[in-house]
């Protein structure tokens, strides 16, 4: 029962402190009597009273501050600020919204013209100077089919001539070699000059061997190999030349019938050219 009563008393306290209770209201007396007996409500009353006096002090502080303000001037200030704002807004409103980024309207044509010239310049430069990146041309793009065959034929002819020269030189060299170590032919093989001839022929031989796909050379490949071996042997010969070595080479040439073969091949090539 006491609990309920305390609750009710709290309600009366709030009314009392916020001035809602008239002085003659009997509830005020009830509250006062209760506060004398109930320590808990007494504590609560003290706190609520402090809350009210604190908020009243805040109100007093507000009044004190309000005394220091020139309210007429303040009202005029607010009104003036709004008028300035409004004027600014009105002067701004005639301009289209997209022009805000440009400094002023006078600049706009100039800026637009500059941008136009810039774009035009880039376009003209593109038309005049632009070149597509070049890729290397394929052979069939340069020559027509007939032309290509012609080139190939020319190449073959040149190779054949070279080869004829090579075979002729080789025949002469081998003939010189065959005459060595006879009773009277000792002077025919002079070391230095012969070696130079052998080396020149070796170079040519290497050149022919570099182009294995040439159909003209396929038929003589084995012969060329043999001659190459022989030429290397001849490079190895001494300055004076030992007859034993030379006779070994001469035997090899006779056995393989190299001179005969060379002559036949030479003839064969010459025949094809005609």
């Amino acid at each position: 029962m006491k609990e309920y009563k305390c609750k009710e008393i709290t309600n009366i306290m709030v009314d009392y402190l916020s001035g809602e209770l008239a002085g003659a209201d009997p509830r005020a007396k009830v509250m006062e009597n209760h506060l004398h007996t109930c320590s808990r409500c007494n504590r609560e009353y003290a706190v609520l009273k402090e809350i009210y006096s604190e908020t009243r002090r805040m109100g007093d502080a507000a009044e004190a501050v309000m005394e220091t303000i020139d309210w007429e001037e303040n009202a005029l200030d607010i009104s003036r600020g709004i008028r300035i704002d409004e004027t600014r807004r009105r002067t701004r409103s005639w301009r289209p919204s997209w022009s805000f980024s440009l400094p002023s309207l006078q600049w706009k044509p100039a800026v637009l013209a500059m941008v136009g010239v810039f774009i035009l310049g880039i376009w003209l430069g593109y038309l005049l100077f632009y070149q597509a990146p070049q890729r290397p041309l394929a052979l069939d793009e340069i020559f027509k089919p007939g032309e290509e065959a012609l080139i190939s034929r020319l190449e073959t002819t040149l190779t054949r001539r070279e080869m004829q020269g090579y075979f002729l030189q080789t025949q002469l060299l081998l003939t010189d070699l065959m005459r060595q170590c006879d009773e009277d032919g000792a002077a025919a093989w002079s070391g230095g000059a012969s070696r130079q001839r052998v080396q020149a022929l070796l170079n040519k031989n290497r050149y022919f061997n570099q182009d294995p796909s040439n159909p003209e050379l396929l038929s003589v490949r084995r012969l060329l190999k043999k001659i190459e071996w022989l030429l290397y042997e001849m490079v190895e010969l001494d300055e004076k030349g030992s007859c034993k070595d030379m006779q070994r080479l001469q035997d090899y040439i006779r056995k393989e019938r190299l001179l005969l073969k060379l002559r036949l091949v030479d003839k064969d090539i010459s025949y094809k050219e005609v």
Partner: protein, 215 residues
């Protein structure tokens, strides 16, 4: 009977005065809606103190309160064209509308900028001024602590209770006026106000507040 007649006459005069004020206010609003700046200045002069008091209750700071006053009337001016008002409406409709705007601005402003600033500044001011105070500095300090705790407790109330407590305590508004500002019934205002005060009392009793002399 003479005193009764006199009193009735006085009441009649007061009522007429109120009606005249209300009519004048309506006229001012109409003029502002037509773009009259002087009329707006008069309207500002009528309500700026009330707005200031409410804002000062919130922030306990002159500059902040003045800012709220300015911002409130800027909003009022922007929206007054949409404010529909007739003589048959409640005479306090405009006042309530202004209060609503000011209150919302206070809440927004507090949420954005003022979360912790106020308490620190008050402590600083206290230390700055305590030598000049004639009263006992210790009890001053206790009061300050009580003030801080009270403010914290008010901030911890539910939104509606907080609103009603502030409007009642800081702006000296009646329950009827608060009910019109917040668009709720007078009964709700009363019960919520009671609940707010009781909640504050409970919380402050629980919080260890120094300097609370219990009689």
């Amino acid at each position: 009977m003479v005193w009764y007649n006199g009193a009735m006459k006085e009441i009649q005069e007061l009522k007429e005065l109120n009606d005249a004020e209300s009519r004048k206010e309506n006229e001012l609003i109409r003029q502002v809606q037509q773009g009259d700046h002087d009329a707006f200045t008069e309207l500002v002069a009528l309500y700026q103190r009330k707005v200031f008091k409410l804002a000062f209750g919130f922030f306990q700071d002159k500059d902040d309160a003045m800012e709220i006053v300015q911002e409130t009337f800027l909003r009022v001016y922007e929206k007054i064209h949409r404010f529909e008002h007739s003589d048959t409406d409640s005479p306090t409709a405009f006042k309530n509308w202004v209060y609503r705007i000011a209150y919302r601005l206070c809440v927004d402003f507090y949420r954005k900028f003022k979360k912790k600033k106020t308490d620190d500044r008050e402590l600083y001011e206290f230390y700055e001024n305590r030598d000049r105070e004639t009263t006992n500095p210790e009890s001053q300090m206790d009061r300050l602590h009580f003030k801080h705790t009270l403010r914290k407790c008010v901030k911890n109330l539910s939104k509606r209770q907080q609103m009603i407590f502030m409007l009642k305590q800081y702006s000296d508004l009646k329950h009827e006026e608060i009910s019109r500002i917040l668009n709720i019934s007078v009964g709700t205002v009363k019960s919520q106000y009671h609940r707010a005060v009781k909640n504050l009392g409970k919380r402050l009793l629980r919080a260890p507040v120094k300097g609370m002399e219990i009689e």
